[in-house]
Amino acid sequence: MKQMNWKELPHAGTVLKAGNANEYKTGSWRSLKPRWIEENCIQCLFCWIYCPDSSVMTKDEKMTGFDYDHCKGCGVCAMECPGKKGNKAIVMEEEGK
């Protein structure tokens, strides 16, 4: 992305385009990656509620996976996941693995 010079900046640095944080791919910050184990998922959507970065994707009110372009790998989803009969539906793994 070409960076603006000081003359091109919007007045006072005001962000005029609503929702443009979506264009900023924060996924590269991640060192741990959440992995979804679908057979253990009870579709409680705790992960969707707790995700601080709206990176849990859903379709028709069902969890469908992660938005790895924006997930920073904080692990909150894995922590909150109740799983099924003691088996987590979300686990955190080393990014390099």
Binding site: L9, P10, H11, A12, G13, T14, V15, L16
Partner: protein, 396 residues
Amino acid sequence: MGVTTTKTVAVTGNQAVAEALRQLNPDVMPAYPITPSTGIMESFTSFVSNGKVDTETILVESEHSAMSACIGAAAAGGRVATATSSQGMALMWEMLHIASGYRLPILMALVNRALSAPLNIHCDHSDGMGARDTGWIQLYSENAQEAYDNTIMAYRIAEHKDVRLPIMVCMDGFITSHSIESMQFIPDPEVKKFVGDYIAIDPLLDLDNPKSIGALVLTDYYMEHKRAQHEAMLNTKKVIQDVSAEFAKLFGRTYELFESYRLEDAEVVLVALNSAAGTIKDEIDRYREKGVKAGLLKPRMFRPFPYEEVSAALKNAKAVCVMDRADSFGGYGPLFMEIASAVYPSRQGPFLFNKIYGLGGRDLMPLDVDQVIDETIEVAKTGKVKMVKEYITVRN
């Protein structure tokens, strides 16, 4: 366009500024009154209670909140003002940077007062000088008339499309704020016409166009933001000159970037801000009668500082004493540093020295001024400065 009929009144500096604010009729005025600026809010809130203005006043729990509310209201799209002094301004300090960084043309009446400790309520310029680097425009005023006129001009300067910066109009605590002076008010319709309507840039209350202000900016963009802010300050000088010229044409009172009092052929020059200039002018007249070519340079615009113009004005002076009503402990006085910076690029010019005077409201008497003029004459003759910086009006 001729000079307007104006009304001559006897009022305090605080009443004069409150009257200007009534005529400006800001949308929002958050404040936490503090001595000696209290009188401004006292008068202004009576205007609000009596329906003389449309302003919403917000009485907040601290000056930090007052400036925060100013920022919120200005970002929403309102014309905003506040008034404060000393500790109040100090408590606003971090928010002052945010007001200028967001490029919000907020007007502040700053009634200059010493900072604690020791606790003191009287005049010096340590509050204004402490806000020197906050990105606000600063205009200084010698008396109630100048404080009133600067306040009337303030929004025109701050809101100019090439500027869009917050502005503080300063006057001396008690000496100006509480003394009754004869001065002239401009009729309401003329002020209204002169000031005009305010059109905010990207106001938050424009709900059809959602936006974010105050986003995080890291190493990749911070410097570009500051460079743009610097440009706005560079543009400010011409806008102040243009607005002042229009004001002079309409209302008959002329204001330059600094006042030159008998300066043109002066060999011995004093530099001082605000009310002390009155006493100094009297003493300069006395020395002129004795045949001494003495003069005064009184900066009105302190931020941005008119370096080139000051340098040109001091070109033929032999010795200059810069009188600071604030100290930068361990450094020279803040006004001295500006004057030294102004004359430096020419690699020539007068001998300079610095006196710190009048802290915490200590009087500057005519005899004190005489001593300074005498020493400046001596420096002009001998070319020798004994002490670059020295306290006067102090018991040794």
